[in-house]
Amino acid sequence: MTGASATKGRQIPDSLTHPATRLLKSWESLLAVVVVVIFVTNSFASPYFLDPWSLSDATYNVTEKLMIAFAMALLIIAGEIDLSVASIIALASTAMGFAVTLGAGTPELVAIGVGVGLICGLFNAVLVTGIGLPSIVVTIGTMSLFRGLSYIVLGDKAYTGYPADFAFFGQGYVWWVFSFELVLVAGLGGVFGVLLHRTNFGRAVYAIGNNPTGALFSGIRVARVKFILFLLTGLMSGIASVCLTSRLGSTRPSIAVGAELEVVTMVVLGGVNILGGSGTIPGVVLAALVMGLVTFGFGLLNVPGIVMSIFIGLLLIGVIALPRLWARLRIQRG
């Protein structure tokens, strides 16, 4: 945590990173407190909350989105964004559905879902890093493109008839109440946590987000790192597509509509700077917990979903405003 900028140590970057790191730390502990408060409030507010099976069901609120949020966090830290993730889910799911009609079995379906995700990620990667287009524009374009393809293939029809053992990925349990998706997302969280916080690659991601030109001149292959990040995001969307399709047991072109915004919300709520350069995987996990617990808790009390949208919206504004207000307060105090 301290070594990241020490290698290029000048006084100015040091004094910039230190308070930022402190703020970041405090943001995550604040999120953790929020999680605990929501958990305790929920336990008292509804007699049905503290049930292992109910809590297990509730994890499905966020598991698939969290998988994508891991990769999205890295992408946003590196100063890019991918808004096509939900459409990648739709296209990968459509491809799997089409494969079912050709008689594909479960292993082929998984390969196709993940593969289509990778190809979509590759497409974004080439447009952004190869041609040098801004990622927000490219992925708004591919967002329409990928989902548009699904609509062309499916129209108002649906693919059903997935093989029975395919249901395991979205409905199966590894042990007791721990669903396959939950175990998978925990594993992926570990992998991405190590990748971002414990490897040279992760440090390169931070460096690019803070200063792409500086990173380039210090020998980081900026384009290649970004290329890999878009591939990873596509890959995660493909995996999420396998899980979601398996959970729904069917494919329609409207699958996962609007999920990209929830993924970005999760990432930003987790303390990742939307302008790039900072953020952590634990923060994103905590944000997912907040969103999942709020959704489930309000659901148990039958609070209309719009109230929960307002709550998340306020939290999000809080995330952006709090560090700024804090900084202003510090300046005023001198």
Partner: protein, 330 residues
């Protein structure tokens, strides 16, 4: 930490006992709709409450997601399973995607029926249609035809391309069009049940087809947007907007002349009938199987077909004469 946990658990148990004690006799029926904030479904809730009052020992939980997505409804269903409600009556955003979640609900002893937009048979015990698809299809084309005795071009402005209901009605309408050989269907547009998109699609229909004589919108959002678009384009009298709408939302457009009339079943009746059926099934007074006859209180009886579906009533026509009277109700 474990002490704290124990405290939490015992507190929760205490709350549970209090809650159970207070509602020992009360059964809970959840009415799950496509999305909250839709006038039609608020009227359904009104009917469900009426039935609950009549039954006495029933509490209605009116809920649904914020957006009309299957994923949102699954989250709602999971929360209802966790609450151990006695019955779920749902209008589905996707007839297939909800099946695994609703199956789980049935596995845990919850009575599940669908109404309005149905769920595939594996995911519910029965489906209550507001009317029959054929009758609605016939009604849609008849309402348009009545305003254009010389025939001509008509277009459809539907909800989303994946909407179960609308697609079935449009198919039935196409089937019924053989009775009107001089009427031509030129396009089916999709406004996704969003007011602004439906408005733009209606504008596009008028521009693309200058000879258009009627827009048929089998959705409450679309018909309103289309009527507004016709008024704004100053084509009242030239283009008649008809389809399925809510009296309270359409009264102004009927009086302006943009719509000469429209149809809808009574959503209050639908909510009432669905609640009555859910109550019978969850109290085991009846079993939903093909051929079974279920009691719907003041709405009479419904007989289930081979797919476990039943139709409540015929759609009802509203025009300048009666729209104000019903606008006060829903």
């Amino acid at each position: 930490m474990s002490n704290f946990k124990k405290l939490l658990v015992s507190a929760a148990l205490a709350t549970a006992m209090i809650a159970n004690g207070a509602h020992a006799e009360t059964k809970r029926i959840a009415v799950v709709v496509k999305a909250l904030g839709i006038g039609f479904f608020d009227a359904v809730d009104k009917g469900a409450e009426e039935a609950a009052k009549q039954l006495g020992d029933v509490q209605i939980i009116y809920t649904g997601p914020t957006k009309t997505t299957a994923e949102g409804q699954i989250d709602v269903i999971n929360a209802l399973i966790a609450q151990k409600v006695d019955a779920i009556a749902i209008s589905a955003n996707d007839k297939d995607a909800l099946v695994p979640a609703l199956k789980k609900a049935m596995d845990r002893g919850i009575t599940v029926i669908s109404f309005d937009s149905g769920v595939a048979p594996a995911g519910r015990e029965m489906q209550l249609n507001a009317s029959s698809t054929e009758l609605i299809g016939k009604m849609l084309i008849k309402m348009a035809a009545d305003s254009m005795p010389d025939g001509g071009e008509v277009a459809v402005l539907s909800a989303s391309a994946t909407a179960t209901n609308q697609n079935a009605w449009i198919e039935a309408m196409k089937g019924a069009m053989s009775a009107y050989p001089n009427i031509k269907l030129v396009e089916v547009a999709y406004g996704d049940d969003l007011a602004d998109k439906s408005y733009r699609e209606a504008q596009a229909l008028m521009q693309k087809h200058p000879n258009l004589k009627a827009i048929i919108a089998p959705t409450t959002v679309g018909i309103q947007a289309a009527a507004q678009a016709v008024e704004d384009a100053k084509k009242v009298g030239q283009i008649n907007v008809t389809g399925l709408g809510l009296p309270s939302e359409m009264a102004g457009h009927v009086h302006s002349g943009a719509s000469k009339g429209f149809a809808i079943w009574n959503p209050i009746d639908l909510g009432y009938a669905a609640t009555m059926i859910a109550d019978q099934l969850m109290t085991k007074k009846a079993v939903a199987k093909p051929g079974a006859t279920l009691d719907m209180g003041r709405m009479g009886k419904v007989t289930l077909d081979a797919n476990g579906e039943g139709a409540m009533a015929d759609p009802f026509f509203y025009d300048a004469k009666n729209v104000d009277e019903f606008a006060k109700i829903f």
